[in-house]
């Protein structure tokens, strides 16, 4: 009973698929991308872990991780402050031998000593580009039942457009589909171009800690980089790799359009309920006031976070914390990140405004559903 309830620890890769959303990660990384009005993507994974009683979580970061460090702090909002375990951020150069990693193998190799010192039986590894409430405890149950060596979570869905059109040069952003026989994985396909629903990997893996250590030690010594291609695929003949289908609601961020769409989808209360699934999702607390809907404002079909001040019209929008919408401004089909201020008499449609943007009065910005305009953080449009 000295370890946590489910005897598992977790490793989160915070920079996964950064290349697909370059504008959003200019000053941050995938894990800290704002989502759903007041969260960051990593909040969903962290909250799922904590809700399942998993309280030993390492987050491996590569670059642009200051915003994530600030967001996570000591881990208090997720109740991850522990004398042993708790939240552990692994930045590059923190120790001799930790460089800026390329693939998952190198990333895990940098924390092998830590892993060896842990006592938990199981390890979860996951990326941070999917917002969903995941039942890690159920996946352990399935893993134990199937007797698998490795279990891979997948979702039956079509391959995102951006993945299908990925440049070959983006070697770090591989994606994987699974061919299954029952729940057993019979082949792992890299960067498949098949259309229609697929068993698309969530890049969420469960294996035993001791097995992972020996896999990574071997792969790293041989100069391998990618866990899926270099470790898992060769195992298929000799060991048992199983799939675990996630059937809940998930929002996968694979490019700017999907980021826009996945925010917009939450304006349907059914999707909103499905995403949260009745669970608590934790995030950093800010000292915002309640949102103020001033006389003469008009808000319709929108998500609004605390700290917003709305004097104008807002329709079909997601407003993060502390957004100001001036009098006479019309905002339609927009995603507006924290503390952006839009003065009066603007007319803005299909636009993603990153944080702390400042738009002077009378401006007009319009994008298209298939091409939302992006305004970078701190931009002053005067």
């Amino acid at each position: 009973m000295l370890t946590n309830k489910h005897d598992a620890l977790a490793i989160i890769f915070a920079n996964s698929y950064d290349n697909e959303v370059p504008s959003l990660v200019n000053e941050r990384l995938m894990a800290s991308i704002p989502f759903a009005g007041r969260y960051r993507l990593v909040d969903f994974t962290l909250s799922s872990l904590v809700n399942c009683g998993i309280d030993n979580v390492s987050i491996i970061v590569k670059k642009n991780y200051r915003s994530l460090m600030r967001h996570l702090g000591s881990g208090r909002p997720w109740d991850l402050v522990r004398k042993n375990g708790g939240l552990n951020i692994v930045p590059p150069y923190a120790e001799k031998g930790i460089k800026v990693y390329n693939g998952r193998v190198e990333a895990v190799a940098s924390i092998l000593e830590f892993l060896k010192g842990c006592k938990e039986q199981y390890v979860f590894m996951t990326d941070s580009n999917i917002a969903c409430m995941f039942d890690f405890a159920d996946m352990i149950r399935a893993h134990q039942e199937s007797g698998a060596d490795v279990t891979i979570a997948y979702k039956n869905e079509a391959i995102p457009y951006s993945f299908m059109n990925m440049q070959l040069t983006q070697t770090t952003d591989l994606y994987y589909t699974l061919d299954l026989d029952g729940n057993r994985v019979v082949s792992i396909n890299t960067n498949s171009k098949e259309y229609g629903p697929q068993n698309l990997s969530m890049n969420l893996y469960l294996t035993e800690r001791e097995k992972l250590i020996s896999q990574i030690e071997k792969a790293y010594a041989q100069g391998h980089v990618f866990y899926e291609r270099d470790v898992l695929a060769p195992m298929i003949g000799t060991e048992k790799i199983c799939g675990y289908e996630f059937k809940g609601y998930s929002a996968r961020i694979s490019d700017m359009v999907s980021y826009f769409d996945e925010n917009m989808k939450l304006l349907d209360p059914e999707n909103l309920n499905a995403l949260f699934d009745g669970s608590d999702v934790y995030t950093t607390v800010r000292d915002d006031n309640p949102a103020r809907y001033c006389s003469g404002s008009k808000v319709s079909n929108s998500l609004v976070a605390d700290g917003c001040v709305i004097e104008g019209e807002v329709d079909n929008c997601v407003l993060f914390r502390g957004v100001h919408v001036g009098r006479g401004t019309k905002l339609k089909n927009c995603v507006v990140m924290q503390d952006t201020v839009i003065a009066g008499n603007c007319d803005i449609e299909y636009t993603i405004m990153d944080k702390e943007v400042n738009i002077a009065s009378g401006k007009s910005i319009k994008g298209e559903k298939t091409f939302p305009v992006f305004v970078p953080a701190y931009k002053q449009i005067l």
Partner: protein, 402 residues
């Protein structure tokens, strides 16, 4: 490490004039302004004034308050040396007692104060809505070389006889008190906020405790003794917003004033003097395409499908289609079902207003102090009618009237 000034917040009161709202809750824990509780005001004032050591003296229903304060992190009072401490009464080897009066409450916690070896102690009230820089007050106290200072408000002369008054000379030195006098000699009303030199406080509390005839109250016993002994007592004029929210109507009124910061004087949106609070942690608010919201404050977790006008909704309130909320204070996690009308009232946390029910009514002019109140957790049945002066503490059945 010694502290220059330590704050003690008197938060013991039941606040019985808030009736249903304080049945299971100390008055300082009463919700206010969408996401605050009354205690947030003195606590935030302390932090913003640079005071990092605060004792909260409580003995009535402290569980909610305890949980709310927690380790003090929301107020940045989560400290190793100092920070915020809830101080209930306790037993000692030589007997024990509940706090007998305000002075006795501080007396019983002298050992807490001594731990920080302060030069000054500021005594605050846990049931006022007020934004005040206690550091300015301390600077005044120091400049006067005072033993004791009290914060006072100028009140209109014709209302002065309703207050405890400080008679002071042009320099602010106090020469006399008047408790609700028929013929006021002063219009300086005490706010119940005191600064003492700690050595003076210690000495007078010990003397007061030794006096078996004392009621152990600051106003009745300690202050008169100081005056008798010719101690240097000064009145510090405070001009900002101050409100004792001790009644349902004053609590409702103060909430409504929050919606009108330009005219009311209470501005919660001031980044230079933030009022901190513990957040609910709920998801963002969802406003449907059927919703109408006009001049309202809403908090995270609200889901609005109906109409909300000139109201304050706390975290997690649901307003269903066709429901109308107007001039109302609706506390956390209340559900207002289809077609209900909720008007000019306070609805306590976790209450349920059934389909088509009516709570409160627009008062006739002059009767604005009539505020209907639904207690926390109360279920108002479908189509029930709660009158404009009702105080509902227990469930009301379908179609019932109150």
């Amino acid at each position: 490490m010694s502290k220059e000034m330590v704050a003690m917040i008197l938060a013991g009161g039941q606040g019985s004039r808030l009736y249903a709202l304080t049945d299971k809750l100390a008055k300082p824990a009463v919700p206010f302004g969408g996401k605050y509780r009354i205690i947030d005001f003195p606590l935030s004032n302390c932090v913003n004034s640079g005071i990092d050591t605060v004792g909260i003296l409580t003995q009535y229903q402290p569980l909610v308050l305890n949980e709310y304060i927690g380790h003090g992190q929301p107020w940045d009072l989560d400290r190793l040396h100092g920070g915020v401490h809830v101080l209930p009464p306790y037993q000692q080897a030589k007997g024990s007692d509940w706090y007998k009066g305000t002075a006795n409450a501080i007396y019983q916690n002298l050992s807490f104060l001594r731990r920080y070896d302060p030069q000054y102690v500021i005594i605050l009230s846990g049931d006022q809505i007020c934004k005040q820089d206690y550091n300015d007050f301390l600077e005044f106290h120091k400049a006067k070389g005072a033993d004791f200072s009290v914060a006072v408000m100028e009140v209109p002369w014709d209302e002065a006889s309703r207050f405890g008054l400080m008679v002071a000379d042009s320099d602010g030195r106090i020469s006399e008190f008047q408790e609700k006098p028929k013929e006021p000699k002063s219009n300086l009303a005490s706010m119940g906020i005191y600064i003492f030199n700690f050595d003076v406080l210690e000495k007078y509390l010990e003397a007061d405790e030794a006096n078996p005839d004392s009621s152990n109250d600051f106003g009745n016993d300690i202050l008169p003794a100081l005056l008798r002994d010719g101690k240097k007592m000064y009145a510090y004029r405070f001009n900002g917003y101050w409100k004792d929210v001790g009644t349902i109507s004053s609590l409702w009124e103060a909430n409504m004033e929050v919606l009108n910061p330009e005219n009311s004087g209470i501005n919660l949106f001031d980044d230079d003097w933030k009022i901190y609070s513990r957040s609910s942690g709920k998801a963002a608010q969802y406003i449907s395409d059927k919703a109408v919201i006009d001049n309202a404050m809403l908090t995270n977790g609200c889901r609005i499908f109906g109409t909300v006008r000139h109201s304050i909704l706390f975290a997690g309130v649901e307003v269903e289609e066709g429901a109308v909320v107007e001039d109302a204070v609706v506390m956390g996690n209340v559900r207002i079902c289809k077609g209900a009308k909720v008007t000019h009232c306070i609805v306590g946390e976790n209450a349920y207003i059934g389909e088509g029910a009516t709570v409160g009514e627009k008062p006739e002019p002059g009767n604005e102090k009539n505020v209907a109140t639904v207690g926390p957790g109360v279920k108002v049945g479908d189509r029930a009618v709660i009158g404009g002066t009702a105080m509902v503490k227990e469930d009301v059945g379908e179609g019932g009237k109150c």
